[in-house]
């Protein structure tokens, strides 16, 4: 039992830390998340990490609800619950607090510096997330083509991303399945 509790505690601390530091939003958390659950703890393999992330894209709701699947894999239903709370509650509280503070500090000139200074860091983290997932997921011409076509379509027009995920899955199933 104490082993289980230790696992749950570690899950909570790691996931809360990742979500608090990933200032670019959910996908910016991917590299650190991967370090925790694959490299450090071996809770998941590269393959499982990639596949669970893809599942999260298909499921309704915020795409980082994938943390629940990881939590469940690691420590059952309690793990799923702990992972969700750790990933979403502390960072939401931080965002809420920061938002209120922000409005109070409005005239302070450093506020604009913080906004401008952190924007490229956030985008950099997002790019690092893309990079990591690309390394795990692009394993040949078909997958590379699917990724590039999906990028092009999304940049050209607003479509529901779910359709692109479904289309990518179908195409790859036809080609490789």
């Amino acid at each position: 039992l104490s082993d289980d509790l230790a696992t749950l505690a570690q899950l909570f601390v790691d996931f809360a830390r990742v979500s608090l530091l990933a200032i670019g939003g959910g996908s910016a958390a991917l590299p650190e998340m991967h370090s925790v659950v694959v490299t450090d703890t071996h809770w998941l393999s590269d393959q499982q990490f990639k596949e669970i992330y893809s599942l999260g894209q298909v499921a309704p709701g915020p795409n980082m609800t994938m943390v629940a699947v990881i939590g469940q894999h690691v420590a059952g239903w309690a793990g799923a619950l702990v992972a969700l709370i750790a990933f979403f509650v502390p960072s939401s509280l931080l965002a809420f607090g920061a938002n209120r503070l922000w409005r109070r500090l409005e005239p302070w000139p450093w506020l604009e510096s913080i906004r401008q200074g952190l924007a490229p860091v956030a985008i950099g983290l997002l790019i690092a997330g893309v990079w990591l997932l690309a390394r795990l997921a692009l394993e040949g011409v078909p997958t590379l083509a699917i990724a590039l076509v999906a990028t092009a379509i999304l940049l050209a027009r607003h479509v529901n991303p779910l359709w692109l995920i479904v289309a990518g899955a179908s195409v790859n199933w036809l080609v490789a399945g």
């Binding site: 830390r17 893809s54 985008i123 790019i127 997958t143 179908s170």
Partner: protein, 93 residues
């Protein structure tokens, strides 16, 4: 999600499941890339921002440095580079 997760566990070793999820993951890469490019459009056009962005992306994506170090360090430098300058007009459009 957890329903899909359960489904995944039962079929994870089937060949077709591999292909389906591989395709979904590839499309997800495209999705993320498009999101990053769209959100980052202003930053990708400014040399200073682009440099900060690349340092962050390489530190985290390639060298896998922990965010606990990268975010405060790069963030602090970046905020300092954008420090308020009395009298100076905003340099960026």
């Amino acid at each position: 999600v957890l329903g899909l997760g359960a489904l995944y566990v039962s079929y994870a070793n089937e060949l077709w499941m591999r292909a389906v999820l591989g395709g979904a993951a590839a499309a997800a890469v495209g999705l993320l890339l498009a999101t990053a490019l769209r959100l980052g459009r202003p930053q990708l056009r400014r040399p200073l921002d682009l440099a900060i962005l690349l340092v962050t992306a390489i530190a985290v994506g390639e060298f896998r440095l922990p965010l606990v170090w990268v975010v405060p360090a790069v963030g602090a430098v970046s905020i300092w580079l954008y420090r308020p300058r009395p009298g100076a007009k905003e340099t960026h459009p």
